[in-house]
Each structure stands twice: as structure tokens, then as C-alpha cells.
Symmetry: C2
Subunit: 342 residues, 2 copies
């Protein structure tokens, strides 16, 4: 009942196109890296619950119909903020796009080659003679690199670009396996097929030690950032509140998401949502270790060279000084700050 | 088999983020008025079949998560081209947004109050005591205007903003009826409920004589247009080819749409697609009579006043001189041109 009343309230006010603030009615355009899905929940919570509005922001959240478009659009400064993975951020910089990550939304989701067990795939060597689906250009580069590491000739398997439709491509027998995220496409494939599925994780196959190359980040263009530093800071603060609310109210958050985007109210998306919960970054921080690791990986993949400076790709200075808190500490200080000062 | 091979081709080339043209790799951002759905088919055909590419264009097609955002984004020149209805175009101009319609995608879709027959609604007077869903601000204005015409007090019914989720709101018992399009939401409601549905058409209730206020148009900002006239012209030409291909190959077009956006491969969306086919504008023309009629209606609704000049809201000069044709006429002339010259 609580959520229902929230929704009605949202219905009459939050979603209104009458902007309350009279000082700045400019919209902040935010482009998702995918169609709206459960791993975007913290952003939608910040939107529906008015956290962005509290910061004087009026975001317009858009979905992409082709994930490969997103890098160009943020790189050409045609949207204000966009979501994209860490590996794409390096690729964008290498292409000359001045994009910067100001935070992490989704941290190290398990990413790899996903398949039905009935395909007979057990190890990476089994891709011989198979058709392998990939999302965009870098998925193919990663597959070919893994094949090289495994000593598999490039003509021993076929690659097929499938965009956002990996699960469908497997079910339509257009590919035998495809690159995807364990807590998303693997769950989707299992639900849609009713069969057992498997995943060969890229981080394990490539010896990376983490799936940080696939962490999903908030990107801005340096040109936009130069004129909107405070706006980006307020955006990150409100988003942080959205993460916190999501993690403290996981079931209510999913209900509110589905009330606003009813196509997500399916058993499959509910399972995806639950599977995604562990991977939300709680502090939105860009992790230096990850950037270093993925920087090396990007060089190995030939996406960047040694001239690429990881430090140019991200900044944590737009994040709240500490994760959002409803309460001030009783003695006015945070332990971490006391320690830093001593 | 034909479509499958087309798709594979698209998979490897058309959807690539490697832009072939080296002269201009800037992306054209195109924001849909809704989530991607069957009435956008001509645009997606022009995209998938390379008609935009043939014109040297590289569109990035985005979906909105809130239809009310679209007017602001095109009005603030934050996207290059956007889809929005005729009534919104007047509202945008009245708000000071310098937007111009350069063509019509979807012409006079039947629009009205949609409901389950089991709700007991038979005529507009039956909204007394009911909860009526609307998409955005102007839907509410239209409902209240119809109530005024019918002599129904404004407090005799309740209005609830439901965004894109009218069908879901009815099924979740959050509203009793809602504003929507006959060939979309009514079909969806009938499929989802398995019950008989009804529609009270706004054009009939308001004595308009056509549902042109809801025709879906291609909008650009005057500022963008001033610097991109040729680009807009090429966009409209390629889109015209997309319409033509869709109408000449309706089943192939739906297959290709679903191969690229698999969530549309449902019986409901197939029925919506078939129901939408009659309403695609074949020549994309802005119809002067419609603009006049809707101009008067917008004044009656209090959205604009008599200072609004319909001619400032649209232009047909970016459309191809004649609808796209594969062949030149055998004698080098079109009858219409001969007649015009004589």
C-alpha cells in the first residue's frame, strides 16, 4: 500500500513536465547503456523519489536502441551523462573522445561466454565450429583474444554481432553461445529456455582476476564537465542516495521500478533484479586498481597503447565526500576523517 | 531465409560502430516519443536497411522513459530530431521552444478514452466517479475540456498521470479508463485482459473531425535546422524510403523489426503492428488543414492564443520533391509536375 501511494504521488507531481525550479529549467540528458533494466534501479529510484529534484536537477532518462551508439553520443557531447563500461571508456579515449568516468554504478558484474549446456560447450576450446554472439566491437576483440590465448585459429569459429539480443539469438538458433553478463543474460537465457546454462567467465579465461573491464560507469564529456562541475556533483550525490535507498529497500525498489516500467514486471526480470543486487557499487567510487588492471588489458587487446594515462579516464572528485547519510555523526566527526587528520 | 541473411549482414556491418564515411562521423541523435514500438517501424527499416547510411547519415535512435521529457529535449536543442504529436508542437511553441515539424510519421491515429467494457463505461458521462489515466499534461487538459463540454464537474472524476503505462494501470486497478491510441493501447488492453474493450474517440467527442492533434511528427529545433538543412532533407528522404519499404513489405518489415528488437516479437505487438499499418503517412507531408484545425483546438484548450501562427510550426520544404521512387518516369516527367507547369 505504501508503494502504491508513493506511485500516485509520483504520478501527479514527480513525473510532471512543469519544472518547479524557476531558476534553471534546463534538462539533464542521461543516456542508459542498454534498454532500461534492473541494474539501472538506483538511477530510477533517485528519479522517482525526487532525489535529483532535491538537487535542483531535472534528468531526462533515455534508452539506447544500440549500445554501440552510446560511446559516440557522449564522445561527441550530444548527451550530458551516459553509462558505459570501463573497457569502452578506454576505447573512447583512444578514439580521441574526451570522456571521463565520474563514478561506478555497477561493479564487476560477472561477464563471459554464456550458453545452454545442451550446446555441448564445456570449455573455451569448444567454440570450434560454433557461432559466437557478441554485443559490439569490443566483444569480438575479447573473443578473438581469448581464442588466441587458447591457441584456436580465428577461422575455427564464427562471430555474429547480436547487439542487445544475445538470449534471443541463441533461442532463434542464430548463435550457439554469446557474450553477456551472468546476472542478466544468463538468468534470462535460463528462464526463457527452461534449460541449464553455463558461463565461461572472461576474467578467469584471461587471468584478469576481476570483471572490472565490464563495470558500468557514469561518463561525461570534458567539455560538458568544464561548464557543469557542480551539476555533475549534485547528480552523483542524488544517485548515491538512489543506491542507498535501493539497497535498504530492495523489494520496494523493484515494485516502484515495475510500477513505472511495467514490462519489467516479469519473473525473469525479478530474478535478474535479485541477481544484480550484489553488484551495485555502494560508494560509486572509481577503483584505481581496476583502472590499472583494465588499462593493461586494453593494451593487450590493442585497444590502447602505453601512452594512455588511466588517470585521465576517471575522477572521484565529483562523488560526495562520504557516501550519503541521513544522519550526522553524534560527535560531529567521521572516524575516517579523524584518522585522516591524525 | 531472406530476412535472416539480411539480419546477418546488418549484424556484421550496419550496426557497426565503425563509421564508413570519413568526411563526417558525427552522429544524428533521434529521440523517439515512446519506447520503440511498431509505429516506429519505418524509421527502423530506414536504419537497418542502410537508407540513412546511403544519405551519409549515422543516426543514434534513443527511446524516452518519459514522453513528457521529449518536448523539453528538442525544445532545448539537446537532441537533433525528435518525434512528438501535433498538439505538443503547438504547446512547445507556446512555451517559447523554437521547434518545427519537418514531416508526419503517423497520421491521425484514432485517439480517445480506452476502457474495458466491464467497467460499465458506455458514454463520456460515465466518467463520473471514475479514475481516468492520462499520459502527460495535455492529456489531462483534453479530458477536462471534454468534461466541460459534457457538463461534468471537474471534481466528479479523478485524473491520474500514468505515462506510457495506461494498459498496466487499468490491469492493476489504478485507473478505470485511460487516454490512448486505438491501434496501440486498445489492442494491448484487449490482448492483456482477454476482455472486450471500448474507445470513445476524442475527435468525435470534441467535434474535431480528425485525430490530427495526435499525428506524430518529426520535430527539429530551429537552431539545429539553421545549420543542418541538408542533413534534415537527407533524413526525411531516407525515412520516406523506410515508409515505402515498410508498406511494400509489411511482413518482412515486422520480422526485421523483431530480429533487432526481440521484445516486440509477441502476439500483442504483432496485432498492434497490423493495426498501425493504415496510419503511416505515405508522403510524410504536414497537412495544412490539420494544422489549422489543431491550431483552433489548441486555442480552445487554452494551450495557445490567437497570436500563434500555424505556419511557424511546420515546413514541408525538407521532404523529397515527390515521394521516393526507384524509377524515373519513362518520359522524364511526373504528371503532377506537368499539370503544375501548364
Amino acid at each position: 500500500m505504501r508503494c502504491y501511494s508513493v506511485w500516485i504521488f509520483l504520478g501527479d507531481s514527480r513525473m510532471s513536465d512543469i519544472v518547479i525550479s524557476t531558476t534553471d529549467n534546463s534538462r539533464l540528458s542521461l543516456l542508459l547503456n542498454w534498454y532500461a533494466n534492473p541494474y539501472h534501479t538506483p538511477i530510477f529510484m533517485a528519479h522517482y523519489l525526487g532525489f535529483y529534484e532535491d538537487e535542483g536537477l531535472s534528468p531526462a532518462i533515455m534508452e539506447t536502441t544500440d549500445p554501440s551508439d552510446v560511446t559516440d553520443l557522449i564522445g561527441q557531447n550530444k548527451v550530458d551523462i551516459a553509462l558505459k563500461a570501463m573497457i569502452h571508456t578506454y576505447a573512447a579515449r583512444a578514439k580521441g573522445y574526451k570522456v571521463v568516468s565520474t563514478g561506478t554504478l555497477f561493479h564487476e558484474p560477472p561477464t563471459g561466454l554464456i550458453f545452454l549446456k545442451s550446446s555441448g560447450i564445456k570449455g573455451f576450446e569448444d567454440i570450434r565450429g560454433k557461432r559466437i554472439g557478441y554485443i559490439g566491437r569490443f566483444g569480438k576483440i575479447i573473443i578473438d583474444d581469448l581464442a588466441r590465448r587458447a591457441g584456436i585459429e580465428l577461422d575455427a569459429y564464427e562471430t555474429v554481432r547480436v547487439g542487445m539480443n544475445m538470449t534471443d539469438a541463441i533461442l532463434q538458433n542464430q548463435v550457439d553461445a554469446g557474450m553477456g553478463i551472468g546476472c542478466f543474460q544468463q538468468v534470462e537465457l535460463e528462464q526463457a529456455s527452461g534449460q541449464e546454462t553455463g558461463i565461461l567467465r572472461v576474467d578467469e579465461l584471461a587471468g584478469l582476476g576481476c570483471c572490472c573491464f565490464c563495470s558500468i560507469l557514469f561518463l561525461v564529456n570534458e567539455e560538458y564537465l568544464a561548464h557543469n562541475e557542480d551539476k555533475v556533483r549534485r547528480f552523483m550525490k542524488a544517485t548515491q542516495r538512489g543506491v542507498q535507498w535501493t539497497l535498504e529497500n530492495p523489494e520496494k525498489a523493484y515494485d516502484l521500478l515495475c510500477q513505472n516500467i511495467p514490462r519489467l514486471r516479469t519473473e525473469t526480470f525479478r530474478k535478474i533484479y535479485i541477481s544484480c543486487l550484489p553488484y551495485f557499487s555502494r560508494d560509486l567510487v572509481n577503483v584505481e586498481r581496476d583502472w590499472d588492471k583494465v588499462g593493461t588489458y586494453a593494451q593487450e587487446l590493442g585497444i590502447t597503447d602505453e601512452s594512455m594515462d588511466a588517470m585521465s579516464c576517471y575522477s572521484n572528485e565529483y562523488l560526495p565526500e562520504r557516501p550519503y547519510a541521513d544522519f550526522q555523526p553524534l560527535d560531529g566527526h567521521y572516524l575516517s576523517e579523524s584518522r585522516a587528520a591524525s
